[in-house]
Symmetry: C2
Subunit: 323 residues, 2 copies
DNA sequence: CTAAATGTTGTAACGCGTTACATGTCAAGT
DNA sequence: ACTTGACATGTAACGCGTTACAACATTTAG
């Protein structure tokens, strides 16, 4: 393995000049540049990325913090990786599997200069704890956070959820169930508030059993709807879901139980993923890919010391066969 | 930001001793260790990851090369990230979007010591070209490769496909269609060979239109089956798919066309993903998560200079509502 | 009581680019 | 002819741990 020092010696120039050639500095004469490039080629030289990271004090790597990679975050991850790479940044995945200690490793890695910034997709640690890591680099979250230091690219969940509620209400459903996600997340609290307001405004029939939190997966969707439909206390005729996976689970279980969709049960998913399209589930389009881009822009802005230019984003409801 | 040098000066010991404390070397007295640890804590010291990578000559990072992150590779990615992290390695995602030049960046990054090894999930560059990067570090592929230097964790696709073929043949289907994946991949050639052999052995009705390659996505599945079912030349009564996404597309399109599944059309997916479970698609269980683990074991073996201990893996067919 | 073994700590070079600052050169401006 | 500035290049310190080797102290064995 050749290094910059050897190139310098062989070419007869100093390390600084060689470095200038590498970094396309204009302060090198054409002749010098060419002769150095020639030697680099002969020795099959490439600069060592670690040395660059060390001396520049940045790694051009951004960590993505998540509990695990699933269908819902797929467009977020894909879009983030893609956009970051266009700006010269690589993405490192940190999956916690729900273990706070493991999740913390991502934050420690930023402290140790292994990554320049972090994007949080989902996170299981205490927000105050995360806040203490803000001094080591930019942290941006997909979900809305209480801490002002941690900016979020999430959209106003209240509006999005209201869109879904008014859609089913407009189609005559009044016994609306809710399968909400992470109980502590601000996404969820926005959605809950939307439901409360809608219930009052539109005189919905309210049953505490119909509203549950902590539902994220296909399986949980299946179990939830089985419980609701078989409950003796009457069952809902519409359900809004935390995400499309939950909606998919509910749809397939409803079919198994011979419940007619959408006549007896309307289902609205969230995120408008490929899954919703495939299964024909009405879904609220959460422009996730654009949010991921915004996350990167926020990070680049903070890394560059200037303010960012985020795109303005809006929800849309895509109606399909389940409503 | 404090560094090791400051810790050394403040504690009165040399850098070497401080380094020994960091690396839990046994050659440090208890008293020294404690006094150094105390100072590190006071200064809120953490070693710089880049400096470690540079001096040790390894980054503890492994690159995952893929065209894009999709449902099929989800379990592979998840399992790899998880297993790697258990062994102290982080995973960096390189998505090419099908662009060979962009894909090459991952390989260049290994050459530049940014990653210690690479796992290829899908790859669009010429294999010979990839081979020239083997000297820079271990490269392991999910799919089978022709180059002997690049080991693969793929299973024998011939056997797996034959399992699916014999399943539908055993249930009386003889007009079997094939939606194969990447035409140039060795996975595909193994599957094609299995189909040829089965066609001969079981006297299947063969129609060249029924066998297509290059089908990977939900949309492609939808389009394919529409074409096949509406074709005037008679249509197949069973189809084996490159993956579960394709099967999902075929299933939903068949329903839209009012074709009865499995009576008029049997569908067999591949990989037995969550999607197959949700939609009730018969699928050939490709133990992807275990393959990802094997990929890591292979890499660790090569990095450590010793031979690996891979797990032995087998296909299984999971029968559901589509056959 | 001495030699060999064991344990503790230090020295200095190494891994490899980057960059602030200094120096030298040559042409344009006066 | 002399100053000024533009351009080219070099010097040396810096970013930060790791590690082979040397050196010294303290046990332990004989």
């Amino acid at each position: 393995m050749s290094n910059l020092d050897q190139i310098a010696k062989l070419s007869g120039f100093s390390k600084a000049t060689v470095s200038r050639v590498l970094n396309r500095s204009p302060h090198v004469s054409q002749a010098t540049r060419e002769s150095i490039l020639k030697i680099m080629e002969e020795l099959d030289y490439v600069p060592n990325g670690n040395a660059i990271s060390l001396s520049r004090g940045q790694t051009m790597q951004i960590g993505m913090v998540t509990e695990g990679i699933n269908e819902v975050m797929l467009p977020f991850l894909n879009s983030f990786v893609e956009t970051a790479s266009q700006h010269g940044y690589q993405t490192i995945i940190y999956t916690s599997g729900g273990d706070p200690a493991k999740e913390l490793q991502a934050f420690e890695d930023m402290r140790r200069k292994r990554v320049d910034a972090l994007v949080i997709s989902t996170c299981v640690n205490d927000q105050a704890l995360l806040g203490s890591y803000c001094k080591y680099g930019p942290i941006v979250s997909w979900q809305r956070m209480e801490l002002p230091e941690i900016q979020s690219v999430a959209m106003n969940q209240y509006d999005g959820y209201m869109l879904g509620l008014e859609h089913v209400i407009g189609r005559g459903y009044t016994r609306i169930a809710n399968a909400w996600g992470r109980p502590t997340s601000m996404n969820t609290s926005g959605r809950i508030q939307a439901y409360r307001d809608a219930a009052r405004k539109y005189h919905l029939e309210v049953n505490p059993e119909w509203s549950q939190t902590g539902i994220y997966s296909i399986r949980q969707g299946e179990e939830l709807i089985r419980g609701l439909l078989l409950s003796p206390g009457g069952h809902p005729n519409a359900i809004l879901c935390a995400n499309d996976m939950v909606a998919a689970g509910i749809l397939s279980e409803a079919r198994r139980l011979k419940v007619k969709v959408p006549e007896e049960l309307a289902i609205v998913g969230f995120d408008n993923t490929e899954l919703a399209h495939t299964l024909g589930i009405t879904s609220i389009d959460n422009p996730i890919a654009a949010q991921a881009q915004n996350a990167l822009y926020l990070i680049l802005g903070k890394l560059g010391g200037k303010e960012n230019g985020q795109q303005e984003l809006e929800f849309q409801l895509v109606q399909r066969a389940t409503t």
